[in-house]
Every structure is written in structure tokens, then in C-alpha cells.
């Protein structure tokens, strides 16, 4: 078990290293010169530009810039935002709770809708309940989030006036107000993930229900409810858990469009603003942080996988 964990972490490190190079390299391809943007009014003065470049080390070779950045990251220093003049780590820590709250709410909605819908549609295969679930799931997958978000704002905020159309109140400030500001974006994001979960749960349940052990469970005289929700589901969940962790990671990476539509100040908004402003340290820091979250989540997924799949436990 501990050996396995160490091995797994050993695999993670090279992944993160390659990612850091990718992140650093890709943004060099972005058009636009950060020095020009930062110089603002004085962009005509070559001396100012040279000064800015020297300050930000933009005049050094790329590998030197990379080594400087990654060296600092390893000591926990993500650098300063060029634009907002704040430590990048501070920005990340500010935005992370917002995105985490949104991701958690979306994920709960997704699991509560997606998993039961998948089970029911597998049990009622090729019957009306299955058609309805599949139709709704198809709608969920193919509807653009921003469109659904705008429709929800129109209906619940403009038409009915039940919910605030945009903005964000932190959980610590006012619990219910916080939920009110995030429930619509969470629903928008959650239904998309629910559709994916539903389709995978359905497929996994169909496989499980055709297995010999399900026949054994029926031969024991177990009620159909127990056969489905205990014997089949326990096995069907194994692939769904992995998928769930990946989907949760995607939610945590921030939802650019949805956060934009609801003006939620999370990771998505932070990264879009940083890209537009060529604020390299912020882009690098946020993307690296997301990558780290992703990698950690897949580790958690593997641990969960072992917990529910006894065949892997003693290996």
C-alpha cells in the first residue's frame, strides 16, 4: 500500500515537470508583447520598454526565465502579478475557495442527478423512463453552458426575481446569500457533468446487471431493489468513480464561460483576465495550480478505486 503510494507519487513528479515546461513554453507563443501592454501610455519610449523588460527578465534567454521561475515555484514563490502587483499565490488563495465552492455544489448536483438517472435508465432499458433520461442527458451534453446560464438568469432573475443575476457573496459572509449567488452557475455546470455521469453509470450498470453474480443474487431471493442498488451498483460504481474524479478536477480548474456569465470571481475569470493582460506569472501560477489539483485528484480517485474494488487492495 505505502510502496504503491510512493510509486504513484514518483509517477506524478515527471508529469508535473513536463507540464511546467509546457505551460511556460506555450505562453511564449501568445501574440503580443507584455512590455508594451505594461508600458501603457509610455509605450513609445524605448528606454521605458527596456527598463520593463530588464525588470521582468524578459530580455534573458527563455531557458533562463524558465529556470528562474521554476526555481522560485519550488520554494513556494509563484512570483508577483505584473499587473495587479500582488503575489500570485495570494491571488490563487483568494480565488480558490470561490471556485472550490462552485465546483463542490456543481458536483453534488451532478452526482445526485446523474447517478440515479443512470441506474434507473439501465434498469428500465428501452422503456419510456430510459428514453426520457437519455433525451435529457443528450440535451445536457449538447446545450452550451453560457446559453443555459443566460436563460436561467432571464427566467429566475429577470422574470421571477428569485435569485440575483450575478455577483458573488462568500460563504463566510452570508451562508444563504452565498448559496443564492452560486446555485444557478452550479446548476448550469452540474447538469453538464450529470449528463456525462448518467451515460457512464447507465453503461456500467447494464454491464453489471448482465453478470452471473446478479443471477446469483436473484437466486438467493433478494429483492430486485437490493440486487440493483447493492450487488450491481457496487460493481458499476468502480469505473464511474474514476470518471467522477476527473470531472470534479475539471470543475475545479474553473469554468471560464460560466464564471464570465454570472460574474463569479473564480479561477476561470482570473485566468481569462490574466491572459488578456499578458500577465504571465498569473497565467503560469494558476495553470500550474490547476494541474496540481488535477494530479492530486487522480491520486484520490485511485485510492477510492482501491477502496471499492477489493481486487486491487492487496496488490
Amino acid at each position: 500500500m505505502w510502496v504503491w503510494l510512493l510509486k504513484r507519487i514518483g509517477q506524478v513528479l515527471p508529469t508535473l515537470f513536463i507540464l511546467s515546461i509546457l505551460i511556460f513554453g506555450l505562453q511564449q507563443l501568445m501574440p503580443g508583447d507584455p512590455a508594451l501592454i505594461l508600458a501603457g501610455e509610455e509605450r513609445g519610449d524605448p528606454q521605458v520598454l527596456a527598463q520593463i523588460r530588464a525588470e521582468l527578465r524578459l530580455d534573458r534567454p527563455i531557458y533562463e526565465q524558465y529556470l528562474y521561475w521554476i526555481g522560485n515555484v519550488l520554494t513556494g514563490d509563484f512570483g508577483f502579478s505584473w499587473r495587479i502587483r500582488m503575489p500570485v499565490s495570494q491571488l490563487i488563495l483568494d480565488k480558490l475557495p470561490v471556485t472550490a465552492q462552485l465546483a463542490a455544489m456543481s458536483f453534488i448536483i451532478a452526482v445526485l442527478i446523474g447517478v440515479p438517472a443512470g441506474i434507473i435508465s439501465a434498469v428500465k432499458r428501452d422503456r419510456p423512463a430510459d428514453w426520457v433520461a437519455n433525451g435529457v442527458a443528450l440535451f445536457g451534453i449538447s446545450t452550451p453552458n453560457f446559453w443555459l446560464g443566460i436563460m436561467m438568469i432571464l427566467f429566475f432573475s429577470v422574470e421571477l426575481g428569485w435569485l440575483p443575476p450575478s455577483g458573488y457573496v462568500p460563504l463566510t459572509e452570508d451562508f444563504w446569500q452565498s448559496i443564492a449567488t452560486t446555485i444557478m452557475p452550479a446548476f448550469v455546470l452540474g447538469t453538464g457533468v450529470a449528463s456525462v455521469l448518467m451515460r457512464h453509470t447507465r453503461a456500467a450498470m447494464l454491464t453489471a446487471l448482465s453478470q452471473d453474480y446478479v443471477r446469483t443474487a436473484r437466486a438467493k431471493g433478494l429483492r430486485e431493489r437490493v440486487v440493483v442498488w447493492k450487488h450491481a451498483l457496487r460493481n458499476a460504481l468502480i469505473p464511474v468513480v474514476t470518471l467522477g474524479a476527473i470531472e470534479f478536477g475539471r470543475l475545479l480548474a474553473g469554468a471560464v464561460l460560466t464564471e464570465q456569465v454570472f460574474t463569479i470571481p473564480g479561477f476561470g475569470k482570473l485566468i481569462v483576465d490574466a491572459v488578456f493582460n499578458r500577465d504571465y506569472p498569473v497565467v503560469q501560477g494558476v495553470v500550474l495550480a490547476t494541474a496540481l489539483i488535477f494530479v492530486l485528484l487522480s491520486l484520490v480517485a485511485d485510492l477510492l478505486y482501491m477502496a471499492i474494488n477489493p481486487r486491487l487492495r492487496q496488490a
Binding site: 452471473d212 433478494l222 477489493p310 481486487r311
Partner: protein
């Protein structure tokens, strides 16, 4: 759904073993699943199946479910896949006890361990906490038998219980079934294609061919005086221990397609004794000797067997 089975009638007695014999695809398993009520929903079953006088086919699915595992139980051909990989062996036995005997969690687990001991699993207390993938095939089939017999059912259907196992393990499992049957008075329906198994373990035999009963008799009578050409063929095709170098007899042709069965006797196209009227109508199952039934127009076969052999 195809008209797979036709006019089958048999009776299993307490403490005895009834063997149902036939080649693959003849409907042995379908018949047993029909008794258990485990056929898919689109299967149509008509007729009657009685357990202790109660009509199984007439009762509601819920009533039948309550009988499954309690009064009638079944073990299957595939021990490797018939246990749920996500639960321990002990839990899978205990589950039946909690359901049918209303035992609480701890009592059921204790009873499950006792049951595992009874099916001669060594170190049962430790094995009960293990998962199926940690057990051998023979061990898993013992767990299946423990599940099936946990609630002392009146009827146990064993569908090719040893086909997937090593020969030495096969003998152990069948001996175990014999002992448990004697001890508990459970009636056993043993589905098999292995006549050697039938000779050693069955009291009565039903020979099936293409969804119909060909012959039905006490085991001793069937082996001494087979009264259906198909049974004769089967006996010729079964290798006997000690006889070497002799070519096994085989039955010419193949099992008919049940979507378009031949008219009349379904065995007629492969039968060395067939005559014109065999193709005219399905031969009735007639009593050719006391307790010995054959669905052959030409039975008793004594006279012809001398010639054919």
C-alpha cells in the same frame, strides 16, 4: 422467445437426486431457470411446477422471490463469475440468512462461517472474510453451495456444478452434495451432460433431447436397459474407464435447430432405428416397463439392439 421446451414432466424426491441429462442446448438449463423464476421477462412458461404442493408458476413474482433461496436454491456452472467480486464470501452467505431467517448481522455472519465449515472449507473463519478473487474455483463453488444450502431449501438445482472444475475437485464437490443431501433431506436436481456423474450420483434420470424428454427412468434401469435410441447413443459415446483403444461411438448428425424443429420425433433424423411413422407426430412418453418411460415408437428396443450392436 422460441418454443424451446415442450412437454417436460419430472419429479424430484426429498433426499434423492434427479439427474437431467442431455447435450448442450437441449434445454436443461432453461427448464431449471423456469422453475426458479429466473428466466428473462419475455419468456413464456406454461404448465405447472410444484414445490411441496404449491404451484410455483401460478404464484406472484413476489411470492416466488420469497421462496428463492429459502425453499428452493440453485448453484451454477460458472463458479468463477457467480460470486459478487465486491463482497466477502461470508457476507454473501450471511446475506441469505439475514433475508430469509431474519438473523441479525453478527448472528448471520457466525451462521455463515458455520455453513462454510459444513461445505468443508478449511479455515472457514478466515476464508469468510476473503473476497472471491482470493479463492480457488473449487472453493468458490463450495461457497456457492453454502449460499444455496444456508437456509435448508427443500429443492436444490445444481446446473452443471462441476463442469468448470478440475476432475479431482469435481469428485469432491459431488461427494459433498451427496452428503449434504442425505443430511438435510433436500431434493437435488442435477443437471449434467456427464453420464459418469449420473451413474455415480443420481437416483432417477431424465434424458432430454432438443427440448423434449426422450427417456425417464430409475438410474439403474436406464443404464441396464436404455429404451430410447438417443440414450443408447449417449451411452455409446460415454468413455468407460478401463476400456482402451476402442473407438467411441458417436451419434451421427447434429442437434436440430429449435427455430425449425423436425416434424414428429425430433431425434428421427439422426436415429438408426427410424421408420416412416416417426416423422408423423411427436411420440408420446410411454411406460415401457414399470417406472420406465420412453418417447420412442419403437420401444422396447431389446430386439433391435441385438442387431444394431
Amino acid at each position: 422467445m422460441l418454443g424451446i421446451l415442450d412437454a417436460i414432466s419430472f419429479r424430484a424426491e426429498a433426499g434423492k437426486t434427479l439427474a437431467i441429462v442431455g447435450e448442450s442446448g437441449c434445454g436443461k438449463s432453461v427448464a431449471s431457470l423456469a422453475i426458479m423464476g429466473l428466466l428473462p421477462e419475455n419468456a413464456e412458461v406454461s404448465g405447472s411446477a410444484r414445490l411441496m404442493g404449491r404451484d410455483l408458476l401460478g404464484m406472484s413474482t413476489e411470492e416466488r422471490r420469497a421462496l428463492r433461496g429459502a425453499e428452493m436454491a440453485m448453484i451454477f456452472q460458472e463458479p468463477m463469475t457467480s460470486l459478487n467480486p465486491a463482497f466477502t464470501a461470508g457476507e454473501q452467505v450471511a446475506e441469505a440468512l439475514r433475508l430469509h431467517q431474519r438473523l441479525d448481522h453478527d448472528a448471520a455472519f457466525k451462521a455463515a462461517v458455520a455453513m462454510l465449515e459444513k461445505v468443508r472449507i478449511p479455515d472457514a473463519a478466515r476464508r469468510a472474510r476473503q473476497y472471491p478473487h482470493q479463492l480457488s474455483g473449487g472453493m468458490r463453488q463450495r461457497v456457492m453451495i453454502a449460499i444455496a444450502l444456508a437456509c435448508r431449501p427443500k429443492l436444490l438445482i445444481a446446473d452443471e456444478p462441476t463442469t468448470a472444475l478440475d476432475v479431482t475437485v469435481q469428485a469432491q464437490i459431488l461427494a459433498l452434495l451427496d452428503d449434504l443431501k442425505r443430511e438435510t433431506g433436500t431434493a437435488v436436481i442435477l443437471i449434467t451432460h456427464d453420464l459418469g456423474v449420473v451413474a455415480d450420483h443420481a437416483d432417477d434420470v431424465v434424458v432430454m433431447y432438443a427440448g423434449r424428454v426422450a427417456e425417464q427412468a430409475r438410474a439403474a434401469d436406464l443404464f441396464a436397459r436404455p429404451e430410447h435410441p438417443y440414450t443408447v447413443g449417449l451411452l455409446g459415446a460415454a468413455p468407460a474407464a478401463g476400456v482402451r483403444g476402442e473407438r467411441l461411438a458417436s451419434i451421427e448428425g447434429t442437434v436440430p435447430d429449435l427455430r425449425a424443429p423436425p416434424p414428429g420425433c425430433r431425434f428421427a433424423p439422426r436415429c438408426p432405428f427410424a421408420v416412416a411413422r416417426c416423422a408423423e407426430g411427436a411420440p408420446p412418453l410411454a411406460e415401457v416397463a414399470p417406472g420406465h418411460f420412453s418417447a420412442c415408437l419403437r420401444a422396447p428396443l431389446d430386439a433391435m439392439l441385438g442387431v444394431a450392436a
